[in-house]
């Protein structure tokens, strides 16, 4: 269909980057919030991403993943989560005492449980 449009018109209707809060699925976030309330305390300071070992090698940012989970933008999270080495430096630097490692573990769990996202 899309290619078909390309042939006929030379372009297709672009899809926006806008997060549509209502239509997004935040079940993953709810699963985590339920089991790890400290998830709420994140103020997106980025300390975790700054110290992150994986972050040294890739664009992996736990801060970003945290917020994407909360917004229900789960695809990117699913693709990146497994890069985490669980080394725990993030937990050590977090100024809000967020149990970051557990968030990663729970997120993996949650994805595992919801078929549509299974890693």
């Amino acid at each position: 269909m899309v290619d078909d449009n390309m042939d006929r018109f030379g372009f297709t209707i672009s899809t926006g980057r806008q997060i549509d809060y209502e239509s997004n699925d935040r079940s993953i976030a709810e699963y985590i919030l339920d089991k790890e309330p400290s998830f709420r305390l994140c103020i997106e300071c980025g300390g975790c991403s700054a110290t992150c070992t994986t972050g040294n090698f890739t664009g992996f940012s736990l801060r970003e993943l945290n917020i994407l989970i909360k917004r229900g933008e789960n695809d990117k999270v699913r693709q990146n989560l497994k890069k985490c080495m669980l080394c725990g430096k993030c937990t050590l630097v977090c100024p809000r005492g967020v149990n970051t490692r557990n968030i990663v573990v729970l997120a993996k769990e949650a994805f595992q449980k919801s078929d549509e996202y299974a890693i």
Partner: protein
Amino acid sequence: MNMRFDPFVIPFNIGLYFILVYVVTRCVIWFRDLSRTDKLRLQRGFFGVAFVLSLKEIFMESLIHRKILKTNIRLGYMHMSLAFGWFLLILFGTIEADIFGAKHLNAPYKAIFFRFFNPDHGRTGFEAAYGFLMDLILAFILSGLLLAVTKRFYSKIVGLKKTTRLKITDKIALTSLWLIFPSRLLAESFTCGAYGTGSFLTGSLGAWLATFLPAQQLAYPFWWLYSISLGTFFILLPITRYMHIPTELFLIFMRNSGIKTGDHSGTYTEVQTYSCSSCGICIDACQLNFSAGITNIQSAYLMKAIRNKDDVSEIADNCLMCGRCDQKCPVGIELSPIRMIQRRGGEAENDIRNIYKGYFRSRQTIISEKAIGSSNFNFLPETDPEKADILYFAGCMTHLTPAIKNSMIKIFEASGVKYSFIDEQGGVCCGRPLMLAGQDKEARELINYNSQMIWKSGAHTLVTSCPICYKVFKESYYLDVEVLHHTQFIKRLIDDGSVKMNFLHKKVVYHSPCELGRGSGVYDEPKEVLNHVSRLERSNFEDGNSLCCGGSLANMKISSQNKKKIALDAANELTKNNPDILATACPLCKKTFSAVTYARVADISEIVAEALIVKPVNKNSGSHINSIKELANI
């Protein structure tokens, strides 16, 4: 007069023969399920010294309960009086029946209900003396029983802060157990009262009862009660925690034959879980309990949950893996390894529990292998480390405590050994944290990556500052490289005189990190190093008994508040006599403690660096070459 048989013994007989058959079958099944090697071990053990050792241990632990006695005298006495006392009762009862009975080699019930079948036995002389002995043993048991009953209702008495919760079948079994000895007492007393026999306990009690009660008529029902409670207890045994009584014997024998828990659940794990008597000593040992007030995840509960085939994931993950319970467990169950197995496993399927399942259990295995999906560390760059004899791997945590890192560099430079700091720019995680989260597959990827790097460097020694790394390098990396924690390395430098240092006149107390101490058995070197440079003071929590700082990476679930509570308690304990320095050998411990205490917290490497006499070292002096040789144990 001498009766042959009476119907009231039937319940007892049923129970007795049932349990005998049951236990034998279970042992056969367990044996059948063992791996080939373990089977061999067991066979060899049976005809070897292991058998003798086991008998000794069984006597010491299963009857006398030495370990429990050591940790908690009252609790120990309780277990001993019941176990050992009952054993004696049976032993001497059998002998009694054999000597004084109508004929030799009686059926068991003849011994158990001897007094019933020989009511007017024991009036004079040797018989009386023997009767006295039997009464004595009974009194011994009853005293223990008294403790047990009070413990149930008021556990403080036996010095336990927390006592395990029970399921209904346990309750029934417990009551029947409690009824056994009182009913025997009364049954014998009434009989004695009726016939005017019996010794100081049964005799006098019987005589007194007979003064106002129809002893003759009352004796019989109590003999029934005695028999029934025995029977019930035996029947229920397999589906209650009391299964630990027979299982423990088998466990002891297996252990002495050299069988280990390993990484996957199997017979040995199963036997261990059934050997747990839920004595609750692990609950007392657990800092999550006495510092953080978390009281539902201790090993006793884990064992129970596994036995009941509950979903244990919540319990299994909420643990510091400090290993204190392993150290304290009187039955010697390898609790942490079992917990790790649970973490590796996915959720166990919740199968319907019923009496039948209780008796004929399916094999104790993790149902679904925890599925985390293919992990993805292929972003890690190709490594080409510089060649070196000795590698220094600081570890992730050490990069958050630069003082340690810098001290180590200072020490390396001073010693003049040729080394290479492989994770100077921040390295790749050692893999242990993933393992502790039960994600072995992922951990293996990192292990392979680091192994590559270490192998390419051609080093013969690997020094790390982080006990977490140390443990995994030592246990899970297959390298022919000697792995040393920096405390061990410093010890060597001191021994072969590669470094000289002043004596700091400072009061130091040492906190042994879990992963280094209990985890890897490195207790002495750190203390020796500290002794060498400072005044090392003893604390109440040394070596195997040392506390956890609470910062452990092993606990995924604990909140930062609870971590703090644990750290605070531990720090307060250690700094009781206000030392100048609270020394540790782990960056994580250091970080955790620094946050909660005003005392100076320092890693041993820092203290050493402080005391170091930095002298220009002649890089190619012979002595230096030797020291390298020694280091490498060439």
